[in-house]
């Protein structure tokens, strides 16, 4: 309102004639046209950026994937990169290994992280005192730089002097070698990812608080117990939020990189060689840009396939209130 008052207010409804800037043609344009030109000018940085940094780069990446390229030379090799990539021979390609490792990480970390996050949100939503304090503590790991977190966990997982194996020893378990063990390195990364479940919790908490109280009241009047209310009110009302978190978690955890790079460098015996780590090694350690581009495009296709699949499935299990559902479809 204050802003409106600041604006010049001409007596009549018409805009006052302004002093000419010498932009006669500009002023001759209709207001709609002017608005449109300004709009294009405003979005042009994004359009230019999109054309160069996204569209152009993706096309270039596709072209590169049919070549053998380092910083100096470029040679067309047709489908060779893809043939090599999909080969089952581990001495030639670690694609399947890295895909398996990443798939393992994605499929197991997401349920753990989402269930933990959801549980915490439900607990926090129980009218608890000190809600803000708990919420901040749980969310804290999510704001931290992944490299510092990785180094901290490297120390926590230390085979002999790490706090994790110490805690296990208190209950009489001899802890594994974690990051040095082919069997335990991947679970170690999973455990670390659950530490960051507070990120999901915060989104879930927002979703829970947006559910109208009347729905619970109505359900109670209809005789629904707390369990029934949870499954018939909370879960359906939360399904759009669950869907959003699922999609972003899938895309995000496919791209796991820093923890594997810092903590294990992909080892032992490639058991934590994640897809993006493999891609990084090929491109920026071995400078095999062509082959790495092929890997990048396959990665893109995999993620897109997952995203499309999730969006397809959403019509079955995600409940949108009237007009939002219409807009989405």
């Amino acid at each position: 309102m204050t802003a409106t008052r600041q604006a010049p207010s001409p007596g009549s409804g018409q805009a006052l004639p302004r002093p000419s800037f010498g932009l006669g043609r500009w002023r001759a344009l209709k207001e709609r046209q002017r608005e449109e030109i300004i709009a294009y000018a405003l979005v042009s940085p994004w359009v230019i950026g999109f054309i160069i940094f996204t569209l152009g780069a993706m096309a270039a990446s596709l072209v590169l994937s049919f070549t053998e390229t380092d910083m100096l030379t470029l040679r067309w090799v047709g489908l060779d990169n893809f043939k090599m990539l999909f080969s089952a021979d581990k001495t030639r390609s670690l694609f399947w290994v890295s895909l398996y490792n990443t798939g393992y990480y994605v499929l197991l970390s997401i349920p753990f992280v989402m269930v933990t996050g959801f549980l915490l949100a439900v607990l926090l939503n129980q009218n608890v005192r000190g809600q803000t304090t708990y919420r901040n503590i749980y969310y804290l790991p999510s704001v931290l730089p992944s490299i510092a977190v990785s180094l901290l966990w490297l120390w926590l997982f230390h085979r002999d002097f790490g706090i994790l194996n110490y805690l296990l020893s208190l209950v009489g378990i001899k802890g594994p070698a974690w990051l040095f063990s082919v069997h335990w390195a991947k679970p170690a990364l999973l455990i670390m990812s659950v530490w960051g479940a507070g990120g999901n919790m915060l989104i879930f908490l927002g979703g829970l608080q947006a559910i109208p109280t009347q729905l619970y009241e109505a359900a109670t009047i209809d005789g629904a117990g707390s369990l029934r209310r949870f499954f018939s009110v909370t879960i359906p009302m939360m399904s759009p939020t669950l869907f959003f978190v699922l999609v972003t978690d899938v895309i995000g955890s496919f791209q796991v990189f820093t923890s594997a790079y810092i903590m294990t460098a992909g080892g032992p015996n490639n058991s934590t060689l994640m897809y993006v780590l493999y891609l990084y090694n090929l491109a920026f350690q071995q400078f095999r840009f062509g082959y790495a581009s092929a890997l990048a495009w396959v990665f893109f296709v995999i993620i897109m396939a997952f995203t499309v699949l999730l969006f397809r499935s959403s019509s079955v299990w995600v409940y949108y209130e009237g007009e939002i559902g219409g807009r989405r479809a």
Binding site: Y40, Y134, T241, I262
Partner: protein, 290 residues
Amino acid sequence: MSIASRRRHTGSIRTTSLLQHALVYLLLTVGAIIVLIPFAWMVSTSLKPANQIKQFPPIWIPKPILWSNWVNALVIFPIPFSRFVLNSFYYATFSTLGTLASSALIAFAFARLRFRGSRVLFLIVLSTMMLPGQVTMIPLFLLFSKLRWVNTYNPLIVPSFFGSAYFIFLIRQFFATVPLELDDAARIDGCGVMQLFFRIMLPLAKPALGITAIFSFSGAWNDFMGPLIYLSEMKQFPLAMALMFLRGTYRVLWSELMVVSFITMLPPMVLFFIAQKFYIQGIVVSGVKG
């Protein structure tokens, strides 16, 4: 729809018995302790004399508490430690400025101006949010090396001036909540399009700009892969890369590593605690309404 009107006590109608209530607190507290243990362990390690670091069972409170570790950790690098801090601030500050300036203007156009193709363009903006950055990583590296931008901060900062899909979306969502009547009133009063943006929309979207500033600042501060790809000279390293250097030393120096890790964590932590309202709002807007 507004987040401000969120209800706090959704669960209050539940007649929770005392026992149930106690269980809730118990679970929450145990969880909180589990989350906090690593931090305690980090601080403890950072203050330990060398002989107490590798000890079993571990010592929680070092004897004596060696504050000198903190000084030693900073002079362990071949160049002054302040350089890393300044580099991190440089990167975070300028990419935040770029993101703010570009994303706010772009978001305004999408929220308020009528132009042909706006719907399609906005859909493209949204879809790029889901694009994994790894697809464009290699061509961009080749492009930036052609421009001789490797070993500078340009590849990390310049793209932020072209707008970021996530923040365009976030700010647009805020602009969309501003009543259209304000626009009409302003236009009748003779406000031009840009005046509308600067005088009316921008002041009303302060929370969105705050969220954008905080998120993009900590995003750049926490970024590791970008600097890893583009920066190879130590005098250009941000803190994240200084940490990697320390990790790469022949013998892992745990207390020094914990000191520098802690210092690197500090700015995003402080930012979170002083601006938690923005954080929560930003996460909820993108998550619940997204």
